[in-house]
């Protein structure tokens, strides 16, 4: 689905079925489209039954890690006498990703319904939707949806007349990429700096306010009502390549591509066809050079690698990258990969929370070296230094922000080393400009 919202015939619109349709935003509009039947059905049954259905559906977390959602929910022990919390991670900040934004803009009730079901399933009476501060429009729509749901008795002390309490609150972030990391999100919600926490303890043991907590991405929760109404088998059947990757997935496409936007395809869709047919390939007169397929934190791949890749967790791993958040960033032959890598490194340096030494110093140092290389003042030794810094920044910190920065740098240099070398002054001090 490009922009404006017009679904491509090869898409499988489930979450995106009502994108672009302002009528779906209101409670009345949403109910007309079958909204809140899943929640009503869920509240009538046992929480454990919902967890079982979601487990059986094979739904995996859409925020980036791909952890099976039902399994995550089953970590929340019923009857432990503690308050449980559900956090919906709507801090969509991964460069290249803007799918949750569309869910919240067009179908806010889909999210509210998914959140309410999720909360009930894990034994939580309170759920918080943490939306990044910049998303003013999604915040407005989700807040309105929550208000409508309260007014209609869908949420509150007696949710849909079930006698069960489900409270949902919208919490606005204030500008910090790292708050999309689940433990940082919890700290931020608690009114602290958004510093990731050391695990263990895991959130299911001691999370928000020290209580058992589950954190799910917007897209994950929005998929749940569909799974409940249509059944786990239906969701399982949505697969084209690997039985471990099922359902539909929203891919955000941006960068140098003819038709950027959000596309919802069945897991396992061929990436080459996706890029060329659905997205229309590179802008006219250009050629795609490299693709970051899962948000800026995953390694970049070449067009050749992209063309043979399938769009699911396993398919991207087979090409040395990851599905991540499903943010597809396309670079064409007019772009300088070193410049793009430098720009992404600068992003990570800007967003580092400052806790871990490697991340705080390493992201900034890598950025400075990269910017010097882009300015034509690099050396060959700089490339070795960058790779070694990346090694020192990988697998050694509390969260993976540092690893993400390193992955961008390493994959950029590995796949496009000639572009970096072309920027390095030769003996006479001349600078060769990257030309492809």
């Amino acid at each position: 689905m490009g922009y404006p919202h017009r679904s491509h015939p090869r898409e499988t619109p489930v979450l995106s079925a009502h994108f672009g349709d302002p009528d779906a935003r209101s409670l009345t509009g949403w109910r007309k489209r079958g909204g809140y039947t899943a929640l009503e059905q869920a509240l009538a049954g046992e929480p454990g039954a919902i967890v079982d259905v979601v487990k059986a559906s094979g739904l995996r977390g859409r925020g980036g890690a791909g952890f099976p959602t039902g399994v995550k929910w089953s970590f929340m022990k019923p009857g432990d006498g503690k308050p449980h919390y559900l956090c919906c991670n709507a801090d969509e900040s991964e460069p290249g990703t803007f799918k949750d934004r569309e869910i919240m803009r067009w179908t806010p009730h889909a999210l509210v319904e998914g959140v309410a079901i999720g909360a009930y399933a894990i034994g939580a009476e309170t759920a918080y939707i943490y939306i990044r501060g910049e998303f003013t429009e999604p915040i407005t729509h989700v807040t309105r949806a929550v208000e409508e749901a309260y007014a209609a008795g869908i949420l509150g002390a007696n949710a849909m007349g079930s006698g069960k309490r489900v409270d949902v609150y919208v919490h606005r972030g204030a500008g910090a990429y790292i708050c999309g990391e689940e433990t940082a999100l919890m700290n931020s919600l608690e009114g602290k700096r958004g510093n990731p926490r050391i695990k263990p303890p895991f959130p299911a043991v001691a999370g928000l306010f020290g209580q058992p907590t589950t954190i799910n991405n917007v897209e994950t929760l929005a998929a749940v009502p569909h799974i409940l109404t249509r059944g786990a088998a239906w969701y399982q059947s949505l697969q084209l390549a690997s039985p471990k990757s099922v359902g539909t997935k929203l891919f955000s496409v941006c960068g140098n591509v003819a038709r950027p936007g959000n596309y919802e395809v069945t897991m396992g869709f061929p990436f080459g066809e996706f890029l060329m047919d659905l997205c229309g390939g590179a802008p006219p007169g250009r050629k795609i050079k490299g693709v970051i397929p899962g948000g800026s934190s995953v390694p970049i791949i070449t067009l050749d690698e992209a063309m043979v890749c399938t769009m699911d967790y396993e398919g991207f791993i087979a090409q040395g990258t990851m599905l991540g958040s499903g943010g597809v960033i396309v670079y064409d032959d007019a772009q300088s990969i070193p410049k793009m890598v430098a720009r992404l490194a600068r992003f990570y340096a800007h967003e580092s929370c400052a806790q871990c030494s490697q991340c705080r110093e390493g992201t900034a140092w890598s950025t400075r070296i990269l910017e010097r290389i882009v300015a034509g003042q690099g050396t060959y030794a700089d490339l070795d230094t960058l790779l070694d810094l990346a090694d020192n920044m990988t697998g050694k910190t509390i969260c993976v922000l540092s690893d993400s920065c390193a992955a961008v740098v390493v994959s950029g240099i590995q796949k496009f080393r000639h572009e970096f070398e072309a920027l390095i002054p030769k003996k006479q001090g001349t600078v060769a400009v990257a030309a492809d």
């Binding site: 922009y3 308050p83 969509e92 900040s93 991964e94 460069p95 290249g96 990703t97 803007f98 934004r101 309170t126 990044r132 501060g133 910049e134 998303f135 003013t136 429009e137 409270d167 609150y169 919490h171 606005r172 972030g173 204030a174 500008g175 910090a176 990429y177 931020s188 919600l189 608690e190 009114g191 602290k192 700096r193 958004g194 306010f209 955000s252 496409v253 941006c254 960068g255 140098n256 950027p260 936007g261 959000n262 800026s296 943010g327 960033i329 670079y331 064409d332 772009q335 410049k339 793009m340 720009r343 992404l344 992003f347 800007h350 967003e351 929370c353």
Partner: protein
């Protein structure tokens, strides 16, 4: 515009105090209301001055140093006064690949700000580069205060500015 010689007017009175109380009822700790309280204070005053920080700290039973540490973690809280129209242009890699740098340049020229982070002489504009606004498919996204604009090109900048009052 700030007038440091005028006495400080508390933010959390009347409706704003009531709004904060409603928010506080949603969390088991008062500290959890810090980000919302800072939003209320910033929306009321345009930025978070030291007296405003003192007030937020006092209302939530925190220390000013703690509140400052939190404020400075988040890029959307203003630790200094900014122009009436605070213009944030996304220049993260996907947007840069789509020409965001020219959008920034055009804003800087047409607002008279000249440099990133500086407020124009008439106090109307401040332009900054911002990291990923989360609308990469609609390059270049620009936020002006709470207004979110998509697909901004240098050619559109003039018209956008002329609509700001």
């Amino acid at each position: 515009m700030s007038h440091t010689d005028t006495p400080y007017e508390p933010v959390f009175t009347g409706d704003r105090r009531a709004e904060l109380d409603t928010i506080m009822s949603r969390y088991p700790t008062t500290q959890a209301a810090l980000l919302p309280a800072l939003w209320i204070a910033q929306n009321a005053r345009g930025w978070l001055s030291d007296p405003a920080i003192e007030e937020v700290a006092q209302v939530l039973d925190l220390t000013p140093a703690y509140v400052k540490g939190v404020i400075s973690f988040y890029t959307m809280y203003h630790q200094h006064p900014v122009g009436k129209h605070f213009i944030q242009v996304c220049t993260t890699s996907p947007c840069t690949a789509c020409g965001a740098e020219d959008v920034v340049k055009t804003f800087l020229e047409q607002t008279g700000c000249g440099e990133l982070g500086l407020t124009s002489a008439d106090g109307k504009y401040t332009v900054i580069e911002v990291e990923c606004l989360g609308a990469c498919g609609f390059a270049t996204p620009v936020m002006i205060n709470d207004e979110f604009l998509e697909s901004v090109t240098p050619a559109r900048v003039g018209a956008i500015l002329s609509q700001l009052k």
